[in-house]
């Protein structure tokens, strides 16, 4: 990501006159650069940008897959329908709750695990392997594990609850389990990003502070946190955007029943259950906008630590 700021350093290594002499070479280099990037750019444009634009176009139409012949333009009417519907706002609220709670818990837990991995004097490889497993495991497989664990009569966790309770049929408890599954699965990612940030905190600095009588809390808040700020922000950005599009865990655990559906589940249901391409696309566009706004807010918050700015330059 820092390539943007670091790479231009290369040609600077050449002297000015050398550069002028190489201007023909520089032009060839530029062409070669574009040539190398072209296939990736074309694929990304065709498969990511074109569909987003197409989704917007679809969202302006009344387009029901059951009655394709009745397709017609309706302007922004679909947006009115979605934004004035309680279903959308309910799904939005559920998504926000899941995202905020899981990311907050993951930040704390991830920080603890990063410190454990960084300083533990024993079994380091073993701990690292076990932390990587949830990251790598297929979300659907993990979600089934949680589902079976909480299914009355099957699971060891459900059997710990009072008889007759079925946590996956109650809204609040289901959301709790969804958050638990999400935290289990994605804390490792948070941990690794924070661990990399922690590696930038010089041990001597911490030792010096200790000698000077700083408590461990002071060392944490006044040395580690400020130095880790860029890593923390990057981790929060990635995880928040990722949590906002939560789909797999909910789809397996509750299918979105009992008021546990996220916006992604709502978009999916509108397309594949209601077969309403127009409304489904409207929801797609709205989710896209929500994610763009979250990203924008975060990146404003980054200031100089935005991805693309190298740490050395700060």
């Amino acid at each position: 990501m820092t390539a943007s700021t670091q790479a231009p350093a290369a040609p600077v290594g050449l002297s000015r006159s050398e550069r002028r002499k190489l201007s023909e070479g520089a032009r060839a280099e530029r062409r070669f650069g574009w040539l190398l990037c072209a296939p990736a750019v074309i694929v990304m444009a065709l498969v990511a940008f074109y569909p987003i634009v197409y989704a917007f176009i679809l969202s302006l139409q009344r387009y029901d897959l059951r009655f394709p012949s009745q397709t017609h333009w309706v302007g922004f009417a679909n947006y009115g329908v979605v934004l004035s519907s309680g279903v959308w706002w309910h799904a939005f609220l559920v998504t926000v709750i899941i995202a905020v709670v899981s990311v907050a818990v993951e930040l704390v837990l991830g920080m603890a695990l990063a410190m454990l991995l960084h300083w533990t004097p024993l079994w380091r490889g073993l701990v690292r392997t076990s932390i990587l497993l949830p990251y790598g495991i297929v979300t659907v497989a993990a979600a089934y594990s949680w589902q079976f664990a909480w299914t009355p009569g099957v699971g060891y966790l459900a059997n710990l609850l009072p008889a007759g309770s079925a946590p996956l049929t109650s809204q609040a408890q289901s959301i709790g389990i969804i958050i638990l599954a999400e935290i289990w699965k994605t804390t490792p990612f948070m941990t690794l990003l924070l661990l990399a940030g922690l590696a930038l905190v010089p041990d001597e600095l911490l030792r010096a502070a200790k000698v000077d009588g700083a408590s461990s809390w002071q060392r944490f808040t006044q040395i580690m946190l400020p130095l880790m700020k860029p890593a923390i922000l990057v981790a929060l950005l990635f995880r928040t955007l990722d949590a906002f599009r939560i789909f797999d865990n909910i789809f397996i655990l509750t299918k979105g029943n009992n008021g546990t559906g996220s916006v992604s589940i709502l978009g999916y249901d509108n397309l594949f259950t209601a077969l309403n391409l127009g409304i489904g696309s409207t929801i797609s566009v709205l989710i896209f906008l929500a994610v763009a706004i979250i990203a924008f807010i975060f990146i404003r918050g980054f200031g100089t630590a935005a991805p693309g700015t190298s740490l050395e330059r700060r």
Binding site: C37, A48, L126, R128, L132
Partner: protein, 294 residues
């Protein structure tokens, strides 16, 4: 940071010569480690336990199989309902990985080493795409693929996977490429090698560890993907293993094929466990080098 240094290190314990740890610290660190390991492993163990339970004891709620049996595995491997999706997963995962790592390597090399305008924009745009909500692409892609006949085919899944794995490949690889000793490139230049020759003969071999790591990360992404896999397929012709598992449903709680799902879940977890055990340092380096460096 550790991106390239780490893979070079031996897997043998490097901390062997460290001072003796006082027993009390050993106990407290050991406890913390044990809790962490238990937390990460118990949902995985639960799947394994379920998958080896005899079908008659599946609902005994026991954390440990009382009656061990391979019946669940025999069941899923006796029908094409799981084998076909498993083959789809492997095929689609490998093809997507190869294509996106090749295209990603080209772009990342250009970004890391060549001076050309538009580089910053390219990185910003690929980061943006990495953050796209997949559901936003599902609606339009469903309609496009239905019209052009890619719906429910391998390419129909490979193409969207490329869109999401390319950004991952590009920035992981460009982080690795920055660690390569580029003086060799200068030397090759002095010796009269062309940009193209430098790329294929000097840089590509040096870049191999980064490329291997990126391939693992990209494959894991494709292996894990679920939303496109259920939305852009309708039969086992292209449905991947996680998607097929999502449709292993029964009419009620009691006919729910718990044993088959558990066995299938264990099978699709095996490659991940193998990757993680063999390449743990590389995976950590690959995931973090890009993010922290920029």
């Amino acid at each position: 940071m550790t991106a390239v240094a780490a893979p070079a290190a031996r897997t043998t314990p490097r901390r062997a010569q460290q001072p003796v740890i006082p027993p009390r610290r050993k106990i407290s660190w050991g406890t913390a480690n044990a809790i962490t390991i238990a937390w990460t492993l118990f949902p995985i163990w639960w799947l394994i336990a379920l998958s080896f339970k005899d079908p008659t004891t599946l609902t005994d709620g026991s954390f440990w199989p009382i009656k061990w049996s391979g019946a669940n595995y025999a069941g899923i491997f006796h029908s094409s309902a799981f084998i076909r999706p498993l083959l789809n997963s492997i095929g689609i995962g490998l093809i997507s990985t190869v294509i996106s790592v090749i295209l990603g390597t080209m772009a990342a090399y250009a970004i890391a080493r060549l001076a050309f305008p538009g580089k910053t924009v390219l990185i910003g745009v690929s980061l943006m795409i990495a953050m796209f909500p997949a559901i936003s692409l599902v609606n339009p892609l469903f309609n496009i693929e239905r019209v052009i006949g890619l719906f429910n085919t391998w390419p129909g899944l490979i193409i969207p996977y490329l869109a999401f794995s390319l950004p991952l490949a590009i920035y992981t690889l460009s982080a690795f490429f920055r660690e390569i000793p580029w003086d060799l490139e200068k030397a090759a230049k002095v010796d009269g090698a062309s940009q193209r020759q430098i790329f294929t003969n000097v840089i590509a071999p040096l870049a191999a560890p980064g490329i291997a790591t990126t391939s693992i990360l990209v494959f894991m992404f494709c292996w894990n993907e679920f939303l496109f896999a259920i939305s852009l397929t309708s039969t086992n012709a292209a449905r991947t293993a996680p998607a097929a598992m999502g449709f292993f449903t029964g009419v009620s709680q009691f006919t729910f094929p718990i044993g088959s799902i558990a066995a299938a879940a264990v099978i699709i977890t095996i490659p991940i466990v193998i990757f993680v055990m063999i390449f743990q340092r590389r995976i950590v380096a690959g995931l973090t080098s890009g993010a922290v460096k920029g």
